[in-house]
Symmetry: C2
Subunit: 228 residues, 2 copies
């Protein structure tokens, strides 16, 4: 009883808001947001359920918190340097982060109070385009276009019924059974393209990204188009 730790069975790091949120992300990554409960989180952290309430007010605050942490994982574009490669890099990073934490996409819709990482993120993105010579208005257009693409792509990736190799064959069977007559074009696309060995929907990302970046490049004011 005189030892340093009396109640701690293991020398667990003391809880903190940070550790609570990291634990929540770990649970969500491993078993989905659906099974992120206060109890499962407490189990993950090695504590009892009510302990986490010392660091967050309620579950909503956890959800807001982990969405913001996920945004924090996305590489910020740099204000200096070629805008196109900066924006490109951050788009690719965003997709990677969101495909690592697909549950974050679904949460975005219901959480309307952005955290600091999210705001910092938006600021860097807008700043990069402004520095590159885009007008405020063009920046708004470009921002809406690029981010819509990135989030939408991640959303599609997350809701795809054939994410892992095992399920591809199941889908193939289902497609063959019911689709040829009812959904001829879907059938064609599935058999001739998507279900071909080696196909990876993720590769589509950069194709579309390049299309968008090309289109934006054409619309920068001439005065800034060749700043370097």
């Amino acid at each position: 009883m005189s030892d340093a730790l009396s109640k701690r069975p293991d020398q667990r790091a003391p809880l903190s808001r940070e550790r609570v949120l990291r634990g929540a992300i770990a649970v969500a990554d491993a078993r989905g947001v659906g099974s992120l409960t206060i109890r499962s989180l407490a189990h993950e952290l090695g504590v009892k359920p009510m302990s986490v309430y010392h660091y967050v007010a309620n579950k909503d605050e956890i959800l807001d918190g982990i969405v913001d942490l996920v945004f924090g994982e996305i590489e910020l574009p740099s204000l200096n340097g070629d805008w196109r490669s900066q924006i490109r890099r951050r788009a690719i990073s965003a997709r990677r982060v969101l495909s690592r934490h697909p549950w974050a996409i679904g949460l975005m819709e219901s959480r309307t109070s952005p955290g600091p990482a999210t705001l910092r993120h938006h600021d860097a993105f807008i700043g990069t385009l402004r520095q590159a010579g885009f007008s405020v208005e063009m920046t708004a257009h470009a921002y809406a276009l690029l981010d819509s693409y990135v989030y939408g792509f991640a959303l599609q990736e997350a809701s795809l019924p054939f994410n892992d190799a095992k399920t591809v064959t199941e889908v193939a069977v289902a497609v063959h059974r019911a689709s040829a007559d009812e959904y001829p074009y879907l059938f064609e696309m599935a058999t001739e393209f998507i279900l071909q060995p080696g196909y990876d929907f993720g590769n589509e990302f950069e194709v579309g990204l390049n299309v968008i970046l090309d289109a934006l490049t054409r619309s920068i004011p001439a005065t800034a188009a060749d700043s370097s």
Copy 2:
């Protein structure tokens, strides 16, 4: 007791799977998916909770069902006719539908088994592009690009903290308080553009959509570019 209805307090239409799902959409539209529970749904339908289980196996089936119903609300593109205006029309319709049922976006991520309306939808979209002369591969590219944009835009719209006029002023206050130093570019964009009277984020949609359609137009094989 001899009358036609014995237990029905009002002459409520008999329940059906359709009515259950429509009721679920009504609840979700009115108070969010968060407050769509079996009990709230039963209340909406004027029955007791356990009655809905005669028409659906469980709540997940309800969620799958209403996502599919929402997809069914989107106007299908027509196979005949100018592909560009068909695709444009369906994109605009999709955005309108998703902004009417914003909760559907968040659900998409967690529901990976598409329903018939969803499949029919994909089929029509792909078919329209194929008929227009896009190769299978180009169709896949275009499809991923367009749909990512549409869904992503809807997602951003849904998670915007300034959807209605009342909250705009709250946001303006918050922005002024904390953002000028920490988030200079965000501050600039907010004050000079977004918070201007008359600004509507929704207007950005067609700007980006036109950019994408222009880019796609350039990439159709020449043989099909002028089919009419």
